[in-house]
């Protein structure tokens, strides 16, 4: 695993085509990710994710608007985007985190894996709100090192 990433996986009883649609189409994105989504599932597309007060983002007073740019879109197999870069900036490894979805067909459906890496900037709606207020940025830095460290700590405890 890369130094600064989190990785999760789930098996879904639906075809890769359907999982792809849920991942990439705004009407679905606004039901699993942000409260509103203006996103196109094609490479290079810039979009926005919006979390509303009282919505999925929790107890914020104002809308949290997060830019997103699609990096890779290989239908039914791979979808990735960068997010949390400053508005108007070109997202790169220094100013944004990379989220990569991989879809693998299985006998009963689809294995969906997500890796978020380059967690230098804030990573989601809750920490974004904190970041705007100048608060929790520190918590989102160096997540990978911490991951490694916690793993080492667990193996240390097992010895």
């Amino acid at each position: 695993m890369a130094d600064d990433s989190v990785e999760r996986e789930i098996v879904i009883e639906a075809s890769p085509e359907i999982v792809w649609a849920v991942l990439t189409e705004p009407q679905h994105i606004s039901r699993w990710f942000s409260d509103e989504a203006d996103v196109e599932g094609r490479v290079g597309a810039d979009g926005t994710l919006i979390w509303k007060p009282g919505g999925r983002g929790g107890d914020k007073d104002v809308d949290a608007i997060v830019p997103i740019r699609v990096v890779h879109a290989e239908p039914f197999r791979r979808f990735s985007f960068r997010w949390n870069h400053p508005e108007g900036a070109t997202p790169d490894q220094d100013n944004s985190a990379l989220v990569e979805f991989t879809l693998t067909e299985e006998p009963n459906g689809t294995r969906l894996r997500v890796v978020e890496s380059g967690i230098e900037a804030v990573t989601d709606e809750q920490s974004r709100a904190g970041y705007l207020e100048g608060h929790t940025r520190g918590w989102e830095k160096h997540l990978g090192e911490l991951l490694d460290y916690v793993a080492a700590r667990a193996s240390g405890a097992a010895r």
Partner: protein, 117 residues
């Protein structure tokens, strides 16, 4: 969160970000309690370097140093490590929640498609 807490968080993250400091922490976990000299013996760095890293870890609240005569014995402060581990777990938990919602959505779309066909 207060301004002081923010500064403390930054110090905590900066402390954990350095690979040598993580090895110093590992050594402390192995030994339970150790002096600068003991830790330096197991690492490819000088005693002086270890002392500097321990000072950073001490400022971040990750270790506790107690003077015994001429030497200082260091121990881990587990509550600070737990804080850091919790922060990381929260990010992973958010993806778990999102993936669970994706699963629910996709499976309901799949079920609807099966009825239609």
């Amino acid at each position: 969160m207060t301004a002081t807490a923010v500064i403390e968080d930054d110090a905590l993250w900066a402390a954990v970000a350095d690979p040598t400091r993580r090895r110093v922490l590992d050594a402390l976990l192995d030994h339970g309690e150790a002096t600068t000299t003991t830790i330096a013996e197991g690492l490819p760095v000088t005693r002086q370097a270890v002392a500097k890293h321990l000072a950073v870890l001490d400022r971040a609240g990750l270790v506790d140093g107690r003077r015994r005569g001429r030497e200082v014995r260091y121990t881990i402060r587990p509550e600070r490590l737990d804080l850091a581990a919790e922060a990381m777990a929260r990010v992973a938990a958010r993806w778990d929640r999102r993936l669970a919602r994706i699963k629910r959505l996709a499976e309901s779309v799949q079920a609807a498609a099966a009825i239609d066909s």
